[in-house]
Symmetry: C2
Subunit: 366 residues, 2 copies
């Protein structure tokens, strides 16, 4: 069933206000809700015991900035694609992919919280503990999260294939859709390697964020939307430049928020990235610029699961005083400027939205 | 590039000997190898450090009985589908799905070995240990296996969509393909619940194996092949009966092999299922039939990771002496007979192969 085009009674396929991201968010939310409702029926038919699996996915998907969906949708529109339910469905599929990545990533990082809620593996561990079941609650938690992530991966694909866009269009988009999935897993693996090898350089850290975040957060959703709409080679090249630059800026902002962000806004405890030992570009720049004594403090503190508030503050100080924070903020500015320059080659109304998305991706607090 | 039809110079699209499962296995193996080679190029372009990820999947996929591929292929042929590279590709995609399920399942069960090799999470743990990397080798192992499984899930879908079968055919098959994936995750979750709740009954254990194994091992591959070929409603009903019965028999044989199998043939240590605390139908029947004293022994031993050879022998004795093993063998015989009866409604040459596959699924030693 096609979704309503907008909430303002527009009938020609164009939202009343193309900058109204809220409208797209509402439609993506509805598409995801409809999909999960249908899947819920499948799970209910198998067993009543599956409700926690469904709930874990549903609760996670109520949150999120829907940025990937926005890039996909506006990549389509920028290439002349008409507004339709099909592209909203594909855009929503990317939110399921993101959910899968987050659920599995939180297991791999041992994170406790996500979007202000307990991480999915913690939810299942709590369910196990609360029911006094046999065996290890942590192991049950990991298993539940593996399965919840696997479901999201399958459903992402199901939503893509079942979007209602033409088979030719979907076949063309496959090149991007498939590469996006494979490259993200690669990026996640490289990210893990950086953490356990702890020999990060700025170049290596930038290589990792390209694959673990920049591509699938901005560049590939945009290229996917464009490819599905049959974008010209020139426009895809523009998306490529915009997406790579903004994708990197997006992740650099994430890394800064991971250390300096307000927990109330980010939904993650302060300093969590430091306790998890994430080898971010910010960390690499810090190690390049600080004194040997400070570097020793950074190396000792990073990845210490018991790092307290004073330890977090000390690291923040080194990052600020060494000028590393300033360097990263400058990188974000430069990359944002590159993205804005690239966006000028895109036609209205998508151009204005892509410009707006630069700020939404980099000036955010969550 | 289409794969060669067979190894015997047949040109009319029909293998020289439809019973020659070896021939199909060779073609499936080649299709998987080609797919992995292409993916290897993608990974190499990202980083040299990804080789262990690729190798873990490649090594796992060299093994396997290729039964799911066979059911899919012969489901297609039984519905009048012509032999072609496309159906071999879809059949091979199911082997990637199976690999994903095994890799993630071994993490969830904490299994050490698979197909006679270390389980994928153990491989990554060993890699971590051998390199003296930071942090926990076990955690690194789990993370590597999560990503390897995720890659297999994505590649399964990629192979399905890129098989070259017509878009109409693939769209029709989606109903089976999508349900198969969702239901398997459900089955895995229910299986986990049985282990931690330890309140198994025969009925519940049978319900679990339907979803965690019977459907995706036999019934759904067969229905997928049939649906892709446009099978009649009658034929799909036949496949449904055959697949459900044989799928259950297949898993019951697996459960018996998990306790009584020769480790050299199964590739898993003797008694591993018992140490993992699997609540199989065999266990449930045993608990129904044995004395209270024996039941206490079973309950105490199941899930004990340190259960020694004598303990395994003791459980085997209870299972045999209580008559439970005989009951399960009878169930396998009954279900096999049901499948054979159903197969009579299928046209030649598929009928003969489906008959042969009953024995291959239930009289096996690995």
């Amino acid at each position: 069933m096609p979704l309503p085009v907008g909430s303002r009674g527009v009938t020609d396929g164009t939202p009343a206000n193309p900058l109204d991201a809220e409208d797209l968010r509402t439609r993506v939310h509805k598409a995801l809700t409809d999909h999960l409702t249908a899947q819920s029926d499948v799970l209910d038919a198998v067993s009543d015991d599956l409700a926690p699996l469904m709930d874990s996915v549903g609760d996670l998907l109520t949150g999120g900035k829907r940025l990937r969906a926005a890039f996909c949708y506006w990549g389509w529109r920028g290439a002349g694609g008409e507004d339709c339910a099909g592209i909203v469905s594909v855009a929503s599929a990317l939110e399921l992919f993101q959910a899968a990545a987050l659920i599995h990533d939180d297991v791999m990082d041992g994170s406790d919280t996500r979007r202000g809620q307990p991480a999915v593996h913690r939810r299942f561990a709590a369910l196990h503990r609360g029911n006094h079941w046999l065996g290890s609650s942590e192991d049950f938690g990991v298993a539940g999260a593996i399965l919840a992530g696997d479901l999201c991966l399958s459903w992402c694909d199901e939503m893509y294939a079942g979007s209602g866009l033409s088979p030719e269009s979907l076949a063309a988009g496959r090149a991007v859709f498939d590469l996006m999935r494979t490259e993200l897993m690669c990026g996640q693996y490289l990210d893990m390697l950086e953490q356990v090898q702890a020999t990060t350089t700025v170049d290596r850290a930038r290589h990792v964020i390209l694959y673990k975040s920049a591509k699938y957060s901005v560049q590939q959703p945009l290229l996917l939307g464009g490819t599905l709409a049959g974008a010209s080679r020139e426009l895809l090249a523009t998306y490529d430049v915009y997406g790579r630059a903004l994708g990197e800026a997006f992740q650099l902002r994430d890394d800064v928020l991971g250390v300096f962000g307000d927990p109330a806004a980010t939904g993650k405890p302060a300093g969590d990235d430091l306790r998890e030992g994430k080898r971010t570009v910010l960390v690499a720049v810090t190690l390049e610029r600080c004194s040997p004594a400070e570097a020793a403090v950074v190396r000792r503190s990073l990845g210490d699961p018991h790092l307290d508030a004073a330890g977090v503050d000390r690291l923040r100080e080194v990052m600020t005083d060494s000028g590393a924070l300033g360097v990263v903020e400058e990188m974000i500015d430069d990359l944002s400027a590159q993205a804005l320059t690239a966006a000028t080659a895109v036609e209205a109304p998508a151009r204005a939205v892509l410009e707006q998305l630069v700020a939404a991706s980099t000036a955010r607090t969550q």
